[in-house]
């Protein structure tokens, strides 16, 4: 990965020097171990700040939609999921293709620091070194080595597009094949086979921890509405309390709003302060849209999003037709 990091820095520097872009949005080292933080580089001499490692889990597409970058030529470092989110934004007319220079990174899967931290507590990681397949951790009175593959984020294990489907330059030139064992599809099938009551129990239990902080919405690269439905007050459709009915209402509508757009980047699950795993919902959304309209989000900016289009022949087996 260090090799890729160097190529990425050189490429980004080149773009800045040639004035192809006004700024580069990338990652730099964070202030605590196993963390990176978004960074915004405008000067070629600052390019060495940029890093690329398995802690670059944040979805930078989020920033592109913010007003301050609207009229700027931006270079952005993207993984497969981020690139797909970017493509959705383009398909929806939010971002102009010519304004963005996409620097694609073949993604080997990001590591799950939350799980590492949680398993180690009360030991605290002070120094972390990551090699090709191992994570060396050092703390006050301990030293430990973990196998990297055991601590890949769940959403990366179930990733289907780790290489950016659309980009201007693919760093390293070589896509990476992922081969993680993942049981998300089995889990989903298992849940789907259950009765509605069992599914209701599953989801109400899962979501009962929700504190309605909306971090899932804010972290989502595709939740860009100027006014979110939960913020609407005239009328107020969704109650703001942590009553389970309100929580379910919120999550149903949020799922509906990202149907056909969600690219399963896992940002919502990562951002959740209560560690609620929303991946079964997001995977279900992929399946619904694929089964019904043969559509996968984030692959082609020229294909209109499924909820923004329709045909006469759309399936309608759910329509009540009395004999």
């Amino acid at each position: 990965m260090e090799k890729l990091e160097k190529i990425m820095q050189d490429t980004a520097k080149h773009f800045l020097q040639e004035q192809k872009v006004d700024l580069i949005i990338g990652y730099k080292q964070g202030t605590i171990p196993l963390r990176t933080t978004p960074c915004f580089v405008t000067k070629p001499e600052d390019i060495s700040q940029l890093v690329w490692n398995v802690c670059c889990d944040h979805d930078l597409t989020n920033f592109l939609l913010q007003p301050e970058y609207k009229d700027k030529k931006v270079g952005i470092i993207v993984k497969g999921c981020d690139a797909r989110a970017l493509v959705v934004c383009m398909a929806e007319g939010q971002i102009e293709r010519k304004m963005v220079t996409i620097i694609g990174m073949p993604c080997p899967g990001m590591i799950d620091r939350k799980r590492i931290e949680s398993e180690l507590e009360p030991k605290e990681i002070l120094v972390a070194e990551i090699t090709e397949d191992q994570i060396h951790l050092k703390g006050k009175d301990f030293e430990q080595t973990l196998q990297k593959d055991d601590y890949i984020q769940a959403s990366c294990k179930s990733c289907r597009y780790n290489n950016p489907p659309v980009c201007d330059v693919l760093i390293g030139g070589q896509p990476i094949e992922l081969s993680f064992n993942d049981d998300l599809d089995e889990k989903l099938a298992e849940l789907e086979a259950k009765s509605p009551d069992e599914r209701w129990t599953y989801f109400t239990t899962l979501l009962s921890d929700c504190i309605r902080c909306y971090a899932c919405r804010n972290a989502c690269p595709l939740c860009y509405c100027k006014e979110c439905f939960v913020d609407q007050t005239q009328p107020q459709w969704v109650g703001k309390t942590t009553n389970i009915s309100d929580i379910m209402f919120y999550h149903m509508i949020r799922a509906f709003h990202v149907a056909g757009r969600c690219v399963e980047c896992g940002a919502c699950t990562r951002a959740c302060p209560m560690n609620i795993d929303l991946r079964l919902i997001t995977r279900k959304l992929q399946n619904i849209v694929k089964d019904r309209y043969g559509f996968e989000a984030g692959l082609d900016p020229n294909v209109p999003p499924p909820m923004g289009t329709h045909t006469m022949e759309d399936p309608q087996e759910f329509i009540t037709e009395p004999e």
Binding site: G30, T31, I32, R35, T36, T37, P38, C39, F40, H58, N62, F63, Q66, K114, R115, S118, E121, P122, E124, L126, K140, D209, I211, R212, C213, Y214, A215, N218, A219, D231, Q236, G239, K240, T241, T242, N243, A267, R270, A271, P273, M274, N275, I276
Partner: protein, 341 residues
């Protein structure tokens, strides 16, 4: 002020005694993180923690709380207050920083003429038993904000882990009374006291160096309009508000009415200054329209407005906002930058 010693194996007995007459809240592990929850048996408690991910403020100031309910009848509108005199409670194993946060919440909820009865009734009926931090995180900065890993502010009793036993110290009359009821305690010796002070020294030495924060409020005031200064931090903020939702001293709330044609209730819920809706006026004007202003508000409120109105910094240095931030926004970086200006 009493000082006692408790052998570690006696702790379950203590908890059992507490459970007989109190509702006990203690750290438990849930979904891979620690949180303060009600326990029913001593073995539910998980004391092997650095600090809870969710601050215990929720025990006094719940996320959603009904203030009163009302029903309409032909005779008029009938209002039922929802202040429940709460049962006697104990929070066991709270960290000194979180205990200190309650002294700030106390000030906030009894500021000026008005006392908040919802918070107050719960607070008055609750005893706080602290567990000193012998293993502070690298993100902890309580010592920079007049706190200490062995801090006593806000607590009734403090437990200090001395390896195979606890040094137990009552800090006020309420604490004294409770200690008298607890079994298995023996008086502390001079040596125990010495061990504790030595431990405190060791812990303090292991902590991240203090961040100088003197004159922080005047410095912040001067920087109020410095867009460049605030932009360097707000630029990467995604406005998710996890920092405020999981902050032990954040108190902002929203009040909503939920009504049907014949009845309804008024509900108080947590709100956050990190959302644009927080300051949106009815006219459509928003005095804090950008991330920059909202981040500035969070910093200014804690480090400038709090000292001005309540004479104390509105932060306890628990470091939760640093740990929980999805983009690694680190408030210590703001202090550092302040020193450099």
């Amino acid at each position: 002020m009493k000082e006692k010693i408790l052998p570690k194996e006696q702790l379950p007995q203590i908890l059992k005694t507490l459970l007989e007459s109190y509702k006990v809240f203690a750290p438990i592990k849930k979904n891979g993180f620690y949180v303060f929850g009600e326990i029913e048996t001593p073995d539910e408690i998980a004391l092997n923690y650095l600090n809870s991910k969710i601050p215990p403020k929720e025990i006094f100031y719940p996320r959603t709380e009904v203030l009163f309910t009302f029903t309409k009848s032909p005779q008029g509108i009938d209002i039922q207050e929802a202040i429940n005199p709460s049962e006697s409670r104990v929070i066991f194993g709270i960290r000194p920083c979180d205990a200190k946060s309650f002294t700030l919440l106390d000030k906030f909820f009894s500021y000026g003429k008005f006392k908040d009865p919802y918070y107050q009734t719960r607070r008055e009926n609750t005893l706080l038993i602290g567990l000193a931090c012998v293993n502070p995180r690298s993100t902890c900065f309580c010592t920079s904000i007049n706190g200490s890993p062995f801090g006593e502010e806000g607590l009734d009793i403090l437990f200090v882990d001395l390896g195979d036993k606890y040094f137990v110290k009552s800090l006020n009359l309420k604490g004294d009374e409770l200690l008298d009821q607890l079994p298995g305690l023996t008086p502390a010796s001079e040596k125990d006291r010495f061990n504790m002070t030595e431990l405190l020294k060791k812990v303090l030495a292991s902590m991240t160096p203090e961040i100088p924060i003197e004159n922080i409020n005047t410095k912040l005031e001067q920087l109020f309009d410095e867009e460049v200064f605030w932009d360097q931090f707000s630029q990467k903020c995604i406005g998710c508000a996890s920092c405020t939702f999981l902050c032990p001293t954040c108190t902002c709330f929203d009040v909503v009415d939920e009504e049907t044609s014949s009845s309804g209730k008024r509900i108080r819920l947590w709100d956050t200054c990190q959302f644009p809706l927080f300051t949106l006026h009815g006219s459509g004007h928003n005095p804090r329209p950008t991330k920059r202003q909202r981040l500035r508000q969070r910093v200014m409120h804690k480090f400038s407005y709090y000292p001005k109105t309540l004479d104390e910094i509105g932060c306890v240095g628990c470091g939760r906002c640093i740990i929980v931030c999805p983009v690694n926004q680190d408030i210590r970086e703001v202090f550092k930058a302040l020193q450099e200006t």
